[in-house]
Each structure stands twice: as C-alpha cells, then as structure tokens.
Amino acid sequence: MVRIFKSVLAVLLAIVFIALLVSAYSQYQSVLLTAGLIDAASTITNDLVLNRLAHVEGFHAREYVLDVERISSLDFKEELGGDNFFFQIKLSYNPGAEMVLGPYGPSPPEGKPVSALSVPVSLYQNGRLTYAKLEVKVWRA
C-alpha cells in the first residue's frame, strides 16, 4: 500500500513537473512575441522618422524632421524578420490648442495585441520646425 502511494506520488510529481515546463514554455513564447511586437514598434517608428517621413531638402533627408505631405505615400505595412506588421500613425502638436493630424492607416484589430509608441519629433510646416508627438500603433498582420 505504502509502495503504491509512493509510486503514485512520484508519478504525480513528474506530471506536475512536465505541466510546469509546458506552461512556462508557452508563457515564454507569448512573452517573446510581446517583446518582439514592442521592438517592432520601435523599429517601424525609427524607420518612419529617419527615412519614410523625413523631410527632404534637395537630395538629403533631414532625420527627426517629419514632412506631413509624405504621409500620403505610406502603405502602412512593413516586413520585419519574416513577420508582417501593420501600423497606424497620428501626429499631435501645438499644446495650447492641440492640433491632431490623423489617424492615418488602418484601424487596429480588436482582440489582437497592439503596441503603441509615442515619440517627440520636429514637424516641418511652412518653413518652420515645431515640436510634435508622433504616435505609432503596430500589430501583427
């Protein structure tokens, strides 16, 4: 009787251990996906500010300076590390009487994880550079 009890207890412990491993692995996977999504938001924001939306003077793109007119040429899709991401952007400036441009791009889907990142940028408007906030929402396709 005691021997059966010991065997059952040992099997039970082994099952608990395997269940722990499986749950930890699946959680680790979801954590990696979330961290990947956060990094994707950073990468896409960087790409927008340094290249795709950067104000062009002659043949030179001015990094960190956004040209609103270039938003119309965006396709709001980017491939990173074999994964496809969609994004939506919004610009806000003039804190006294806040002006909001956008949102531009598709709406984030319901029930899917979305990473939102807001960064300070300079906005090129009528020959002047004013500070603004660029908000980027990113999700997996």
């Binding site: 412990l13 251990f17 491993l21 956060i38 990094d39 950073s42 960087n46 990142l117 300079s122």
Partner: protein, 174 residues
C-alpha cells in the same frame, strides 16, 4: 535475531530514503517552477527600456531641431547662447525657460520627469520638468542622452566656435 534486526533497519532505512527522495523531488519541482516563471517578463522589460532610451534620444533631437516660437533658433541653441553668455541674447532667459518648460511638459513620457542640463565651464542651465520632481535619486533607473551644442559666435576679427555640453535625463517619477 541479528539478521531480523538488520532486515528491519534496512527496511526503515529504505523508508527514510524513499521519503527523502520524494521530498527532494518535491523541492526540485517547486524550485523549477519558481525559476521557470521568474525570468519570463525580462524580455518585455528590456524592450520597454529600449523604447524609453529611444524616447530620450528623440526628445533631445526635437529640442535640438525645433524652433522656439517665432525665433529661427532651436531650443538647445537658445539655451547654449544663454550658457555661453552671448550678448545680446536672441531669446531672453526667463521667456526661454517658460517655453522650454512647456515643451518638456508636452513631450515627456507620461509618468516620467525630465532633466535638461547644459554646461560650459562654470556656467550651466539646469531645468527639471515637472519642477517639483527634483533630480533623480542614485538608485532610480535613468535614461540619458548627451551631446554637444555648437555655436558660432561672430566677433569683430573672426568667427569663434564655442561648445556647450548637453545632457537629457528621463526617469520614472510617478
């Protein structure tokens, strides 16, 4: 009689070792559970910290490039002029301080305070936003971006180049 006692002792020893091994297995399961689940959020925290470092750099660049109201001078250039003691000042010091405060308050990440510091020799400009946040404690996690602001000063004979050291710090405040 001696053999019986030996056998009993052996059985008792076996029982104790079984209980010990099961207790040890139980301990391993508990430890493994704790270890397997303890590091799971590190990757998310690291990614969030990378975003905060990115925001710090972007805030510095924005102040470096954006013009102060209708002046054709950026925030960092205007502060550097004040720190370097260039006269006459394009943007008056008190007015500039209020404009910088407005910009920092609008641009800072929610829940975080910003310290902007420009120094040149014995002169310095330190601005904290919100003003009641104070400077960050040594044990608080900080995100710092630093650079140099270069000003060309037109003088009678020739132009002179002067540099101020600039640093921007973001830290968790509330």
């Amino acid at each position: 009689m001696a053999r019986l006692t030996e056998c009993k002792l052996f059985r008792e020893g076996g029982g104790v070792s079984d209980i010990l091994s099961i207790a040890f297995m139980f301990l391993i399961v508990v430890l493994a559970g704790v270890l397997l689940h303890s590091y799971r959020y590190d990757a998310i925290n690291s990614a969030a910290n990378r975003q905060l470092q990115l925001k710090t750099e972007y805030l510095y660049r924005t102040l470096e490039l954006s013009h102060v109201d209708d002046y054709t001078l950026s925030y960092l250039d205007a502060i550097a002029e004040n720190v370097l003691g260039i006269a006459p000042q394009v943007v008056p010091g008190d007015y500039l301080r209020s404009r910088v405060d407005n910009a920092l308050f609008y641009l800072r990440p929610p829940g975080y305070a910003v310290v902007l510091e420009l120094t040149h020799e014995n002169s310095s400009w330190v601005q904290v936003c919100p003003s009641d946040a104070g400077t960050p404690a040594p044990d608080v996690e900080k995100f710092i971006f630093s650079g140099k602001v270069t000003i060309i000063i037109a003088e009678a004979g020739e132009n002179r180049v002067a540099q101020a050291d600039a640093s921007l710090t973001i830290f968790n405040w509330r």
